[in-house]
Symmetry: none
Subunit: 245 residues, 2 copies
DNA sequence: CGGATTTTGTTACACGTTGTTACGTAGTGC
DNA sequence: GCACTACGTAACAACGTGTAACAAAATCCG
């Protein structure tokens, strides 16, 4: 494929600058755009491998642009949203976007998602609804996505609750990337309208992490797999190997 | 039948766009419409296999449109509504909708329902009624609709009560689609119908499900066929093969 | 018709799951 | 050392579900 060419679409120039700069630092070609017209001209001028599209574009609507892009060309799109409300809507409707990410986001997380989308030869699978029958292995453990079965290193099945399973899925999708509590809560679609405010959110995630640790860590007091990133959140800090069945 | 042609009727352009995009991604032809006039013109112009109809259409009334469509043409309709109040649901069925789905909805669920409705070659309308003189097989079991006989994988006849049979029929008609207790109750035409309020409804469905499980599940404690969708309802989670006799 | 039997709905309790609270402890900066 | 903050977790409460036991209703049958 060569060097990936990305389109960064955001009407806030600071944001645009920051994102393009960051992506370029990581070896990608990042082209800024602030409105649909600029997007179109870039698409006409040359190859574009991925579009990062802000949901709120002043008077224009990112979602509609996304829809139109989908009608015309087969370019992957990652939606970027500042409002958790948008976030919810996108999750609910799963527009045509290949992935979505909420502002403010962790740069590493953005990079990971960009790479993930770029590496998908085939479209149509996304973080939002991945229904591939896959098997993940990590630190000797096995997770079958289809059946949601978890097998310990000595092949004993371990029963995880729904939330625990969802947490594990989220972690498996983002190995080595520190996830904030808010990110985890969003991914788990937490009930309490998780207003992104720091401590308006309870300790639900902490407790959940503790419970998952109790089931998959040999010594939950000194976790080797699901580590704490003090002041940040949690990291799934072992390699994940995923193979198709 | 070829590629299914769907009509997406919603006065909110975001919603319309998202739904059409999503349906197109899944290999269907999705035509947007925002009012009854557009629906009519689409119907006049060519074949339409299914209509997704929003209940709230600004000044127009989706329910009335659905009724009129029913009077004129034999096109399946799935009602889409932001209001999940049960009386709304009932109204949807009353005017002849084939199914009903509440916003915000899971895209996969929408797709499942669309496919379910499309796969009903014959219109017998809605969850409530069933096609006749057929044989269904699932997970080794056999169900003869005509005689209402149920045969276990080792061809032993199992006696189901009337309610249990009705429940099984409802489930067979909606494999892989989670059904709420209210939906099941409606399909079984339960009690005085009127008080479909959230938890005013007793545990009748739970008990009924338990009893059916006791007869068709190898291990009722760990059901493989009729699974619980916590907070939602129940799913018939095995494939159903139905053939003409 | 009347009694027996089967079916069906209700109630009560057990149990698992999940978020909250409270408190103990470990890390951090001074 | 101290104070302060972040984290771990036990205990608890709220909730949903499974199910046994009972009661009511329907059905069967002489």
């Amino acid at each position: 494929m060569g060097i990936p060419r990305l389109l960064v679409v955001d009407d806030d120039s600071d944001m645009r600058q920051m994102m393009t700069q960051f992506l370029r630092q990581n070896g990608m070609i990042a082209l800024p755009a602030s409105c649909e017209r600029e997007v179109q001209s870039h698409l006409n001028e040359g190859r574009v491998d991925l579009i990062l599209l802000d949901v709120m574009l002043g008077d224009e609507n990112g979602l509609e642009i996304c829809g139109r892009l989908r009608d015309e060309q087969d370019v992957p799109v990652i939606m970027v949203s500042a409002l958790s409300a948008d976030h919810q809507r996108m999750k609910g409707y799963a527009v045509g976007a290949d992935d979505y990410i909420a502002k403010p986001f962790n740069p590493d997380l953005l990079l990971a998602r960009v790479k993930a989308v770029l590496s998908r030869a085939r479209r149509s699978s996304s973080l939002v609804h991945r229904r591939n029958t896959k098997t993940f292995t990590f630190a000797g453990w096995t997770y079958h996505a289809k059946t949601e079965e978890v097998l310990s290193p000595d092949n004993v099945q371990v029963a995880l609750s729904r939330r625990e399973t969802a947490l594990l899925q989220t972690l498996l999708a983002n190995p080595h990337i520190p996830l904030t509590r808010a990110e985890i809560a969003t991914a788990l679609d937490v009930t309490g309208t998780s207003s992104q405010s720091p401590e308006a959110m309870g300790r639900a995630i902490d407790v959940l992490v503790g419970r998952l640790r109790g089931k998959i860590e040999a010594n939950p007091k000194a976790p080797l797999i699901l580590k704490t990133e003090r002041g940040v959140g949690y990291v799934f800090s072992v390699d994940v190997v995923d193979q198709d069945d």
